[in-house]
Amino acid sequence: MDVLSNVIYLIASVLFILGLMKLSSPKTARVGNLYAMLGMFLAIVITLLDKHIIDFTYIIAGIIIGGAIGAIAAKKVEMTQMPQMVALFNGFGGIASTFVAYAEYVNTNHTVGGTDVVISLILSLLIGTVTFTGSMVAFLKLQGIMPGRPIVFKGQMTLNALILIATAGLGWYFGMDTLNGELYLLIIVGIAAVLGVTSVIPIGGADMPVVISLLNSYSGLAAAATGFVLSNNVLIISGALVGASGIILTQIMCVAMNRSLTNVLFGAVGTDSGTAASGGEQRTVTRYTADDAAMIFENAESVIIVPGYGLAVAQAQHVMHELMQLLEKRGIEVRFAIHPVAGRMPGHMNVLLAEANVPYDKLVEMDEINDDFASTDVALVVGANDVINPAARYKKDSPLYGMPILNVDQAQRVMIIKRSLATGFAGEDNELFYDDKTMMLFGDAKGMLTDLNKILKEDE
């Protein structure tokens, strides 16, 4: 029996890895997800046949409640809310590890094995709980229930460091006498909960993509730590895979935002929203209308659209797709340039556009499309700002300096749909707004695109 369940766990692990491998292409990704589902199903079934399980009441209740919540959430969630959703799921993954680790301590009548198990147990409780409360804060910030701006107080970092030291100390005392160590473990869980909160509140709304990726990694590491407690290899392998995945995504997000991880975690610079540009010399911009824009499209052969999160805020993805179709009808080549931090989490903009039926082969990532701007007639920017700011290339004192940007300024004409001249998250004025070849189309993205579509349709 034990051999059989271990063989099944191995098969499940292989299916997880194969599933992730199939995510390398949108053609095979859906099948890959099914592989991972099958792996999970097999692992659950073989566990239910385990001879240690004698009472199914709590199991059935748990699966029904959890399954219903998960299924409803997955069906109801809107694609714009995906970051909150993933944050929430990360949190549940974390707390599950905490519960399992603590239950194992209770079920073994407090006789934890050797030092290795003690360390695994402490790590599992610590990481699991930090992931949970940290994810809840991230969720509240993304959902707008908590303000997105960084919340800082004096001695925040010292407190975090003290919590980690205290955890190590309490863990030491726990290890000396595990039989009566219950209180130590409960205190560890309590201060870990505080640590999760105090380490995420100083991080601003703009940096949330990094935080969700990092919490994703933590939820994997928590599962792996629980695997060490239970000596269960499928937990260790899956946890390691997820941990690695989260770390890679965190790294990609940091590079795309030109920030180091330490800077994101401790810098507290990400602000809630942009403020209006002020000071400096007064420059003038010319206002253009949808009619002017339509005229430019008359003579265009190639268009690159640069979508930002503002597009999703305005719920303009579907009108955007309609514009794409209208332009294509005229024989214009249309592509989307996707900056890695377009949206609120890694890859978010792609999902939002895919939902609006934009074919994925039109969605081109930054490195692949950046050289094509120079030979493109029109770059149409909707709801993006910092990721197209040329200041990132040369202005050394700018917070954007060094951040990879889309070469929108190299296109023949630039159209920017924007509500106002307000700056982006970084608070850096964008010189592109004042360039002669730039047409500023002031207004709500959805309204402006709808007007544009109407004119283009009449001209047909």
Partner: protein, 99 residues
């Protein structure tokens, strides 16, 4: 340090390398489904949760186990379903065929 833990560390370290190799091949296009999908995979803690909830050593252990089953099931069911929902939306340009 006994052999079991050493063996587990081996597996952990090697699995991290496998993870790095596999994940770096996932295109940015699919990074959101990757996150929700890997999230579902981290719900594998359900395996431990089921045993705690069903082992019947103590009521406290079983209740903690049930709470773990609930959290992990949310993760597994919600994670896989939402990933499937997203991946279904990714379609190639069908225009050529339609004409």
């Amino acid at each position: 340090m006994n052999e079991t833990i050493l063996f587990s560390i081996y597996i952990f370290v090697l699995a991290i390398f496998v993870g790095f190799e596999v994940i770096t091949k996932v295109p940015p296009l699919l990074h959101t489904p990757l996150m929700s999908g890997s999230n579902a995979i981290s719900g594998i803690t359900i395996v431990g949760a089921l045993i705690s909830a069903g082992a019947g050593h103590s009521t406290l252990g079983q209740i903690l186990g049930m709470l773990a089953v609930i959290s992990a099931t949310i993760n597994v069911v919600g994670g896989f379903m939402v990933t499937d929902r997203m991946l279904e939306m990714f379609k190639k340009d069908k225009k050529q065929e339609a004409k």
